[in-house]
Amino acid sequence: MKEITVLSFGAVADILGQSNLKLSNLSSTDELMQQLEKEYPALKNIPYAIAVNKQLVTGSASLEHNAIVALLPPFSGG
């Protein structure tokens, strides 16, 4: 069974109510986002980027077993 880890930060973690989720049987980041936005509609209203295994992705990316997907609201370090 294909498992992935979803890490969330900042405002995204506030919406999800947790910063670390384990999910199964998702083949792409698009599919993941659809599922999350259905469960947490407030996600649709905030900007965030997606990293898979610490690399930012644009568009949809396929997810391997054990992929780590990070949901990254706009950075505000410094």
Binding site: L7, F9, A70, L72, F75
Partner: protein
Amino acid sequence: MEKKLKNIFVRGPVAAAFIADSIQKHSTQTGIGAHSIFLGQVRNDVVNGKTVTAIDYTTYEEMALEQMHGIREAIFEKYELTCMHVYHSLGTVKAGEISLFVFTSAKHRKPAIAACEEVVERIKKELPVWGKEVFEDTTYQWKENHP
């Protein structure tokens, strides 16, 4: 990942004494002619009548250190630097305290100054770090960086 990534994160604020120590350590490197330092300090901004008392910083550390590694390599490629040090706070940093310390040194001033500025810009833009601006009444808002 096999590569050894240099840590940049420190718990809480960067102390002035720590900065002094960093400067002092460079006195043995007598090929250095110029140091450029940037310090980010937490402001007590007022938002809708409420005052920011602190910023609480979090990061996606594994990714941040990889990004910083890439920035460091690009900067050393681009500028004739002797050395470069970066420290970023995690956790609570109160208004008036320092949360970012970027320190570049070179034989001549131009590379030291240009590298320092570029590192600061890239840190703000590229490092997965988030600042939660905490108000007096313990409510908060997520910080947005000024372009």
